[in-house]
């Protein structure tokens, strides 16, 4: 293991992974892999989770393709340094924030979405220019195997390495030093990962789970709410970290909700759910037994059928669930939806806040005030109102937990930021040492005042703009006065050009005779007046253009220096 990490690190140190072109090329290769080997990948996922190929495609592959496309499009923009605002002291310097790769990144994936939860972080890590060690979950072993087989065929083999293995290998892996660790999984293992990271001061992103509540207000379209909840809850057989874990609603709604979910389940998965190709199975026997134990002593409103041989658990709804029972103590991660009756929204908020911060909160309501209240007075990784799961699908939103549901966020630009170090850079010139005298000891009161002035004055363009305009006017006037002759010539030329454009030429003869006709006009007072107005206008325009285009900064700087000298704390100088 140590050797493997060493190999990846030396590949990173070669600097190969840094150029933008290389990153884009690797991402394109990754996309090619997904497109060319789609069948193999889908088959692997299907065999791990009993997932239909269509589900595997729409839940996993599409998300990743979308992410790759987004990154390919935006990466050139993301990698460029971002200029930072300066103060008077650093006005003439270059200040910017340069994103740079961190080094060797460890990504530990989860089994419930074995492709998305390993490849999506990988995309961010590659985009940021890192070397990556990828550790897919050993529970989804077919996907793990196919990734180990395919990735080296498409990506740089030294920079991006797949390591497979169980708890032992992961423990060994975590002993190594990484520059970043992104872990997706359970809270308990999250703590182990962070403890290991602390030994090397490695920053971590932890994507953990939690019990995501779903509050249904009585003022909402219950039909639609139940359809959406049914979809989100039983997606991937409930094995989704952001699935609505339990429903909070007023007691009177309970029966209606049960009825509507029951109908929707029938609509989605047919009369016999067990035979539906769209319904998955529980990943392994251990989880199957765990979920089974959650059902003990509960009032099953519908569902509850199980089959150990195929690890099938039917879509189940529990009613009047006591918050103290086991099903309300741990993340369910299975197709069981407990309904906990609460008196009103305030009680629901209290209920949510008494527990650990969840990964997501869902609210169904038409009442905007209530929605605002729910969002304002709770905390969670993300929120979706009047729908479930959808905030995950939007790569412009950061995806991550808070409190016991994790730390850090990724997706889209946030992945790039997660795997980048935002390095602040300030580049000065070695010239103008005279101006730096201010900060060198020995010190005096006047130096303090000056420094204060320089540091505290944020260079605000608004304040100076009026004075600046006045100055510009003066400059323009002086220039006009000094270069009157030259400007007049130029003005005449421009006037001629304009004049020509306005008199369409019908024949060659006219063109030849044109200059003479102009000459004859030159003498008239009318023309002279026009000419004057024209050239003054033009020269003012020229001056303005010139300065705004090339010298705006310079003028502002010299002018502000001038202002400082005259309106700064100069009087102190004379005292010292």
């Amino acid at each position: 293991m140590e050797h493997e990490v060493q190999r990846v690190r030396s590949a990173f140190l070669s600097g190969r992974s840094r150029p933008l072109r290389f990153r884009l090329q690797q991402l394109e290769a990754l996309r090619r892999m997904l497109l060319e080997r789609e069948k193999d990948i889908l088959a692997a996922i299907a065999s791990d989770l009993c997932k239909s190929e269509f589900n595997a495609y729409s839940q996993e592959v599409v998300t990743i393709l979308g992410e790759i496309d987004l990154v390919l499009e935006k990466l050139p923009e993301w990698v460029t340094a971002e200029p930072a605002k300066r103060n008077l002291l650093t006005m003439l310097d270059e200040a910017y924030v340069q994103p740079e790769p961190l080094g060797v990144v460890l990504i530990i994936g989860a089994w419930n979405y074995p492709l998305v939860l390993t490849i999506q972080p990988l995309i961010g890590a590659i985009a940021a220019g890192n070397a990556v060690i990828l550790k897919p979950s050993e529970l989804s072993e077919n996907t793990a195997k196919i990734l180990a087989k395919l990735l080296p065929q498409y990506l740089d083999q030294d920079l991006y390495v797949v390591v497979n293995g169980g708890v032992e290998e992961t423990t060994e892996l975590l002993k190594q030093r990484f520059d970043y660790i992104l872990y997706t999984g359970s809270t308990a293992v999250g703590k182990i990962v962070m403890t290991a990271a602390a030994k090397h001061l490695t920053p971590v992103t932890l994507e953990l789970g939690g019990k995501s509540p779903c509050y249904i207000d009585k003022d909402c379209d219950l039909d639609i709410a139940c359809r959406r909840i049914t979809w989100g809850k039983y997606l991937n057989c409930g094995q989704t970290c952001i699935a609505p874990d339990y429903v909070l609603c007023e007691p009177s709604l309970q029966n209606q909700i049960v009825q509507k979910i029951k109908e929707t389940v029938k609509e989605f998965y047919g009369e016999n759910v067990k035979e539906s190709p769209d319904y998955e199975r529980i990943i392994n026997l251990r989880h199957f037994k765990r979920i089974l134990s959650l059902l003990e002593g509960q009032k099953i409103a519908f569902g509850g059928e199980t089959d150990e041989t195929t690890r099938y658990i039917a879509p189940t709804v529990l009613t009047d669930v006591d918050p103290e029972t086991k099903v309300m103590q741990e993340e369910i991660f299975g197709p069981i939806l407990p309904i906990v009756p609460v008196k009103n929204a305030d009680e629901a908020i209290k209920f949510i806040n008494e527990r650990e911060k969840p990964l997501a909160i869902y609210v169904f309501s038409n009442n905007n005030k209530l929605i605002k209240q729910m969002i304002d007075s709770t905390s969670s990784g993300g929120v979706t109102v009047n729908d479930v799961i959808m905030h995950f699908m939007l790569s412009s939103l950061p995806f991550g937990g808070v409190g016991s549901s994790g730390m850090g966020a990724y997706h889209g630009k946030y992945s790039f930021d997660t795997f980048s170090h935002q390095r602040p850079c300030l580049l000065k010139s070695l010239k103008r040492e005279g101006a730096n005298k201010l900060r060198y000891p020995p010190n005096s009161q006047s130096k303090v005042d000056w420094t204060k002035f320089f540091l505290l004055k944020r260079f605000s363009k608004g304040k100076f703009s009026l004075l600046f305009l006045a100055l510009l006017g003066i400059v323009a006037a002086v220039l006009v006065k000094n270069y009157q002759a030259a400007l007049r010539r130029k003005g005449l030329l421009i006037f001629l050009a304009v004049h020509r454009l306005h008199c369409p030429i019908s024949s060659d003869e006219q063109e030849i005779s044109e200059p003479s006709s102009v000459k004859s006009e030159v003498g008239t007072p009318h023309f002279l007046f026009l000419c004057k107005v024209g050239h003054i206008g033009v020269c003012v325009l020229l001056v303005v253009c010139f300065y705004t285009a090339s010298g705006l900064g310079v003028i502002e700087k010299t002018f502000s220096l001038f202002v400082c000298r005259h309106f700064g704390p100069w009087h102190r100088e004379s005292q010292c």
Partner: protein
């Protein structure tokens, strides 16, 4: 930089020395309840707190300056410049921008969510713990505090017990200016800090040494608390042959000796060619004489080492290599002269630890490549400096190394810019702060999507059973999503 010298009495800002089983639980309970009540969330409350902090800085400027002079022998100029002004600046910036920082940030939507409203809400984490060190005891306590308060958190501040004078002012005076139900200062040494860290916080912000940083991070793991660690490191300073030695010497010496070298971002050692070294030494001597006079010891502008332990450590380092400039020390007032060491071996102690004192070793490298290689073989530093009149050289050092911060042709002037994030990478820390970055550090960025409750027909396509037609439709819509972020 936590030491074991002083075991301060554990005190809550309100009730003096309660020596119960756990002196912190009451305080923390109180703060947590205050946060839960939601009173720290409104912008008005946050602004009032920030204004209070600003008033504290103005009203007690002399008190703070005296405390700093007592702790670190800091001249008023230095304490004004590096501590008070920067804090005031940060407070002003936060007050000015609070509303815009707090605003929900709308984000781009895709086809499926086109009619919904999607935004990022910045919400406070809850109870934040700020542990600050002794070298800039005001700055490194209050700068993170500004961010934490602006973000609407309740805050426990644990100033260093080593800078006693400032600790006292912060513990006794500062709470009077802030809402005491949402803010507390706790005092104590390493033992008390360990005990404090056993409690659950929602954010921990630590400034100090990598060694203690690991302890803090391990403690944070217990409750899965996100952290920012501002640690130190050996900051290299590369000097190219193409520069004016006097200018370089001025800048390097100034920033090396700033706060008597007890600065986490100070240039720790110089890398240059033997020829450049020959030219730099007289220039450095002249800079030291100009800055601190012929006898730096009597200069009011040079501070003293914080305590006996660090003094002993630094005195030991003076024996490394050959002393080219300075080298004097006096135990009685913990004085160490601005010192330049040459002929230093990489294996000597002075190159093994962060110096944190006015000692500057010069190491010789033959070329730029060797310098970059030298830097990359070591832990990632908090700051990296490169001096050259050739822009290409500076850019090359920047591109081929990694460090928390980078400064070309100057010292740590980037600290004065709150538009730049400040933070380490690798062994020099994680996370960043200053200005808006502080606010973001202490805020949870919560993804919010307010979907339209209608349009069920459109969303129908994602539901099973998946007929062939639905598959095609879904493929189409999703491929749309993947192509464009409308």
């Amino acid at each position: 930089m936590s030491g074991t010298e002083v075991k301060g009495v554990v005190k809550d800002s309100r009730s003096p020395s309660t020596l119960g089983m756990d002196p912190f639980s009451d305080t923390l309970q109180r703060l947590r309840e205050a946060f839960r009540s939601g009173r720290t969330r409104p912008a008005e409350f946050r602004a009032a707190q920030l204004k209070g902090l600003g008033r504290f800085l103005q009203d007690h400027k002399e008190l703070l300056q005296e405390a700093l002079a007592q702790d670190l022998h800091k001249s008023f100029f230095e304490s004004d410049l590096s501590e008070l002004i920067l804090c005031q600046n940060e407070v002003n910036l936060a007050l000015k921008n609070l509303h815009s920082w707090m605003k929900d940030e709308p984000v781009a939507k895709n086809l499926l969510t086109q009619l919904d409203s999607a935004f990022i809400r910045k919400e406070p984490f809850g109870l934040a713990l700020i542990i600050s060190p002794w070298n800039y005891p005001v700055n490194l306590s209050l700068l993170p505090l500004v961010g934490a308060l602006a973000a609407g958190n309740c805050v426990v501040l644990k100033p260093s017990e080593i800078s006693q004078g400032t600790e006292k002012v912060l513990a006794e005076v500062l709470p009077l200016y802030l809402d005491q139900s949402c803010f507390a200062v706790v005092q104590g040494g390493p033992e008390e800090t360990q005990q404090l860290l056993k409690h659950k916080f929602d954010y921990i912000f630590f400034t100090g040494s990598p060694r203690v940083g690991k302890i803090v991070m391990a403690a944070a793991t217990e409750h899965l608390t996100p952290i920012t660690l501002e640690l130190g490191g050996k900051n290299p300073c590369y000097v190219d042959d193409n520069c004016d030695p006097q200018t370089v010497a001025n800048r390097v010496i100034l920033f090396r000796c700033y706060n008597t070298g007890q600065t986490c971002v100070a240039p720790d050692y110089v890398l240059c060619s033997p020829e450049m070294q020959e030219r730099l030494l007289p220039a450095m001597q002249s800079a030291i004489t100009r800055f601190y006079g012929d006898d730096p010891r009597s200069s009011p502008n040079l501070g003293r080492i914080i305590n006996e332990k660090h003094f002993q450590r630094l005195q030991g380092l003076l024996g490394c290599g050959r002393v080219a400039i300075g080298g004097q020390s006096d135990e009685r007032d913990r004085y160490i002269a601005p010192t330049v060491l040459v002929d230093v071996q990489q294996t000597e102690p002075v190159m093994q630890e962060e110096i944190f004192g006015p000692i500057l070793p010069i190491l010789n490298v033959r070329s730029l490549d060797e310098a970059i290689d030298f830097i990359n073989r070591r832990e990632k530093p908090l700051a990296l400096y490169a001096f050259s009149t050739r822009n290409k050289v500076v850019k090359q050092v920047l591109a081929r190394t990694s460090s928390g911060n980078f400064s070309g042709n100057d010292g740590f002037v980037f600290m004065t810019l709150n538009s730049l994030p400040f933070g380490g990478v690798g062994n020099s820390g994680m996370g960043k702060y200053h200005g808006k970055f502080s606010f973001d550090t202490f805020s949870h960025h919560r993804a919010c999507l307010l979907a339209h409750s209608g349009l069920e027909k459109l969303k129908e396509i994602r539901y099973p059973p998946y007929t062939t037609r639905r598959k095609q439709l879904l493929n189409w819509v999703l491929s749309f999503q993947s192509c464009t972020l409308l």
